[in-house]
Symmetry: C2
Subunit: 408 residues, 2 copies
Amino acid sequence: MPKISSKGEHMPASPIRKLTPYADQAKLEGKKVYHLNIGQPDIETPEIMLNAIKSIDFKVWAYTPSEGTLSYRKKLTEYYNKLGYNISPENIIVTNGGSEAITVALQTCLDSGDEVIIPEPFYANYNGFACMGDVIVKPILSHIENGFALPPISEFEKLITEKTKAIMICNPNNPTGYLYSNDELSELKDLCIKHDLFLFSDEAYREFCYDNREFRSPMHLEGLDEHVIVLDTVSKRYSACGARLGCMITKNKEVINSALKFAQARLSPGMVAQIAGTAAVDTPSSYFEEVNQEYTERRNILVNSLNKIDGVFCPNPGGAFYVVARFPIDDADKFCQWMLEKFSYNNQTVMMAPATGFYSTPGAGKDEVRLAYVLNKQDLKEAMVCLEKALLEYPGRTESKKLKAESL
Amino acid sequence: MPKISSKGEHMPASPIRKLTPYADQAKLEGKKVYHLNIGQPDIETPEIMLNAIKSIDFKVWAYTPSEGTLSYRKKLTEYYNKLGYNISPENIIVTNGGSEAITVALQTCLDSGDEVIIPEPFYANYNGFACMGDVIVKPILSHIENGFALPPISEFEKLITEKTKAIMICNPNNPTGYLYSNDELSELKDLCIKHDLFLFSDEAYREFCYDNREFRSPMHLEGLDEHVIVLDTVSKRYSACGARLGCMITKNKEVINSALKFAQARLSPGMVAQIAGTAAVDTPSSYFEEVNQEYTERRNILVNSLNKIDGVFCPNPGGAFYVVARFPIDDADKFCQWMLEKFSYNNQTVMMAPATGFYSTPGAGKDEVRLAYVLNKQDLKEAMVCLEKALLEYPGRTESKKLKAESL
């Protein structure tokens, strides 16, 4: 039998999806499972976008240009220039989801063995994308105690080698929800200029900033045009994860020209998705206001409930729709699996993503879990009751953490 | 300024799309351009598929499972089992276009530096996909004189090293239109078993076989279950290139399990595309009969017209909707560019793909051009008149070839 690649062997399984068989089994046994594991929002897609799909009037479902249709890129330019990105359609390559934007950016900028520095915990699939291109991820620990703020620049400096080609951030952050400040971005700017590095800015959650905090992008920084590559998607912005429509944006012409060759190899992004994406840019601002109000309330419920649970600590993040919380447990992977396999309360349980999958440093995040607040408020409350009971029952509960919490 | 990757520098530009700026310029100058360069059929997408798009009734455009929805994979199973593939939904991973099926298969089976043997000329983007994963393509020349039949197995044997992991074929072939026979596939089977190699079978053009010739897949061969990976797409089958919907199929469980990890990293194929793809399986057989009738007539027009032109030789292929023809020219790249930049006849010209882009051996295919018969018959005829005039006028015309043709 022919052997698969060592890449294929070592490719990490998704920490978000790997517990799915246990959840399926729990459901077969009649348990209700609250899905806080995955970033699939329950928010409705804007009607304007769905209507655009229903109104297609072409006869041939044809390829579009590899970089995306000009009409979609023009419309996107409108959207981004309202944010002050000051771009033109030539700065955009439309991709099959944000995922493809990330892989194309990595391929364009990093060779096999090259290194990208990423503050951890980070979006787990960065590991997978890096594995595809034999790129090395160099993680820098950020800490739950300060809400996962940007680690000191001196920590980045320590990791920079001849092989370092880029820094990657996700802002607001998945999985921590942390929203980077202008000062933090300015520090990264100086670092990237000093060491001539690309700055990849994954902005999938741009629209989700709470408490009147303002989103800032490296695109807003002067003098960084040749360094910044924005990686974006409509998935979360319009609750349209199934559209598989993203883009990469850069003012670096050499990067665009090279990225276009990768885009040409896979021919085209989806045509219907681009039609819908074009319409989506006209989504009324009231949609986002309502959605952000809803997410703010959910975040408040989740963070308050979590911090009330004995032994649990959860920072209050400024954006996205995730939190990473510390639980009084021995092993987040074991705990999350146990929740599905062994535990139930009123025939209900909660599915969460062990934070270990979001760290690259072995052993890090072992007592942390990512929760996505993508369920309605009532379900979130029920899920938190369930979680509290589970933490009391879980055989791997760590007393030290419990005591620490009690002493607060 | 940060430097792009050497991969990004060396990534080949699409030979099909790289002349586009010249075509755009020709159109600006008011010329009519007959596009025989690209495999974008003008055939209408089945109504059943378009109606499925218009009838979507979901509220949240959500992720689907990474391997594709069960309902789509079940429906696909129906389609493939009618062909005698004898598969179940677990053998399928749905992808964003056939392109993603190819990249996932390569990543799953080949590491950086590993080799895949491909008869050339081959689909140009295989070079790009290989470049993405630092995989080495080892080409084997097939020859226009015998219609680009499978080269002798002894030629494959000569290329096999420790690094050889797979053989890749495209059947019916893009760019040559050659349809592999059962005997040829059997020879490949023996070779793959002897050397324990994967056999990648790109079957994008399966539905397009002419003159009552039967399509045969390596899936029909016994004893090859662990070796065969079928790479497929709905793009050509249903004239739905813009759907970006493909799949990989294999009975090798280790391959499926590993491929699923790559699929999980990019989260999901498109949801609307899968809904449309599910409907498409019920496309009435009359659709395919009409389409094949149309393509047969077009092929006959194209092949007959080409062979009537002084100095031109074109085999009569059994499938797909391409031909590779030999022209009495010094350099196909120069000629195709010249056609757009310098030539016009009645204010018309023809865009074709130089065959050089479909060869990996330097210098091969220099007097060959790929033509796609994706235009209606009248346009094809006009394009051939245009081409004949162009070959008479082209300053790089080679007299030796002309003489050879005259002596036939």
